[in-house]
């Protein structure tokens, strides 16, 4: 993940051109991702130390409460991922800018990864706390539906249709699907289920060290989300470039075929 070393295969910019910029390396890293990644790693490590070692077990839930230090940050990262998808989709529909379309797609994929994490950490937390891995409670059920919905969104993005048609439909779905995120968030208030409501309420007694561990987890996961988003966006851009290059090459080959003199060949 070093950023100052340029790739050995990339040609060095010539010295007589003062405007020449260093060429992009053959990976998706940069100074930005290096800093984001480093910060995420530091906070992740601090969360592990505080969450697993320094902070004590909770009175009612014992050590299983330590799972909340990754469960709640996963929730935050999932919401954030789908929110960025919503924003990207809205702006894409207005501007038709490829940037926002790719950002929406990249963010949804990372959101789905965090959503899988939140479902898993919730299940292993539920077993010791409730006695079961899964409860048919409104929040759990709506979260599972949300997870599958965004898998559908990712599948839609792989449709074999013209890119602009596909992007527009994905944007519509990205906006419509966010309704379910709202349902998930308010499901606890709308239906009185088993799942606990707001964890950080005034009436809940939460130990200072536990709160601090949770805070570390939140920062670590949000930083990880941002770091992944930059990388995933660059991967989306690169695969778009590969597709375009493939198209250009196919076009050139077709021209060469129809023009035996080779004059139509692209330089």
């Amino acid at each position: 993940m070093t950023t100052t070393n340029s790739s050995p295969t990339a040609p060095k910019p010539s010295d007589d051109d003062p405007l020449a910029k260093p060429l992009a390396p053959a990976h998706t890293g940069s100074a930005l991702t290096f800093r984001l990644g480093l910060a995420a790693a530091i906070f992740m490590g601090a969360m592990l130390v505080f969450g697993l070692v320094i902070s004590g077990p909770e009175i009612n839930q014992r050590d299983s409460a330590r799972l909340l230090y990754i469960h709640l940050p996963s929730v935050a990262a999932t919401y954030l991922g789908f929110l960025v998808t919503l924003v990207g989709s809205v702006i894409y529909l207005r501007t038709k800018s490829l940037f926002w379309d790719m950002l929406a797609g990249a963010s949804a994929e990372i959101g789905v990864v965090f959503c899988a994490g939140l479902l898993f950490s919730g299940a292993v937390w539920g077993k010791p706390t409730w006695g079961v891995y899964w409860q048919w409670d409104p929040r759990l059920t709506s979260t599972a539906v949300m997870f599958v919905m965004y898998l559908g969104y990712l599948a839609l993005r792989r449709m074999d249709l013209p890119p602009d048609v596909r992007s527009r439909r994905a944007a519509i779905l990205g906006i419509a699907s966010f309704a379910n995120v709202i349902v998930v968030h308010y499901s606890v208030q709308w239906w009185r289920g088993l799942h606990q409501g707001r964890t950080l309420g005034v009436d809940t007694q939460i130990d200072g060290l536990m709160l601090f561990s949770l805070f570390l987890g939140l920062v670590a996961f949000v930083l990880t989300f941002a770091w992944l988003l930059v990388h995933r966006f660059r991967v989306a851009w690169l695969s778009h470039q590969v597709e375009e290059l493939g198209l250009a090459r196919a076009l050139a080959e077709r021209r060469a075929e129809t023009d035996p003199t080779g004059r139509g060949r692209t330089p």
């Binding site: 529909l93 059920t141 539906v145 599958v148 919905m149 898998l151 559908g152 599948a155 839609l156 792989r158 449709m159 074999d160 249709l161 013209p162 602009d164 048609v165 527009r168 439909r169 519509i172 779905l173 419509a176 379910n180």
Partner: protein, 231 residues
């Protein structure tokens, strides 16, 4: 727009009248699902609660609506398959059809077919699962509201995958999660209509279906233009 709705719906129904795909394939498919539920859920098992009911009778409302949903997926796939050949949706747009007219017309045609299907599957469920009927009015209203929900949300989400070769596998993945609340509401309202068990508020669940239908009516009318733009 009303003219376009009527044009679209009557066109789709005429296609069905000639091809008979829904009547000859999708209705038998739905009945088959009901029979398979009977085989899979051991009709001899008995649930002992306030009343002795067989497992099948107890879960009949949910089974009925799942059978309807699965059949509806096939009907929705069919509704867009008849357009996908030779880029027909493109032609509709070129002919100056109002996108909302296309959306509502297609929904109307699917709704008409679904209602016929529900009557047949409903009769099948009464015969096969042996359920009582406490409140026929609630049952009919629930079926009507749920059908509107399934067709509006189904048409909208199925149209997103129109024209793609992966349409057949993508449509269920897109449509079913959206219809999960409809399954919940329709099942609970139907439970109340059949058994009139205390504690199940059938009419409030039926009302929730109305809210859901209005939501997807609005969303569909907003979104169908951009979806159809160059399908």
């Amino acid at each position: 727009m009303v003219h376009d709705i009527w044009l679209m719906a009557s066109k789709d129904l005429k296609v069905e009248f000639v091809s008979r795909v829904v009547a000859s394939q999708i209705v038998p498919f739905g009945l088959l699902i009901l029979i398979l539920f009977g085989l899979g859920l051991s009709p001899d098992l008995v649930v002992v609660g306030d009343e002795r009911r067989s497992v099948l009778e107890e879960v009949a409302p949910g089974l009925f609506w799942i059978a309807v949903l699965l059949s509806a997926l096939m009907a929705l796939g069919r509704a867009f398959a008849i357009e996908a050949e030779d880029g027909n949706l493109d032609a509709l747009r070129m002919a100056g059809m109002d996108p909302m007219g296309v959306f509502l017309g297609k929904s109307l045609a699917v709704a008409a077919q679904l209602l016929v299907l529900e009557v047949i599957l409903g009769l099948g469920a009464f015969v096969l699962f042996g359920v009582p009927l406490a409140n026929p009015v609630l049952l009919v209203m629930t079926a009507l509201f749920a059908t509107v929900c399934i067709t509006l949300a189904g048409t909208l989400y199925a149209s997103l995958a129109a024209g793609s070769t992966s349409r057949d596998t993508l449509v269920p993945l897109l449509v079913l999660p959206v219809l999960a609340p409809v399954l919940l509401g329709a099942t609970l309202a139907t439970r109340d209509a059949l058994f009139a068990d205390p504690g199940v508020l059938g009419w409030s669940w039926a009302l929730l279906l109305v809210v859901f239908a209005l939501l997807y009516l609005g969303l569909g009318m907003l979104a169908f233009g951009p979806i159809l733009e160059d399908a």
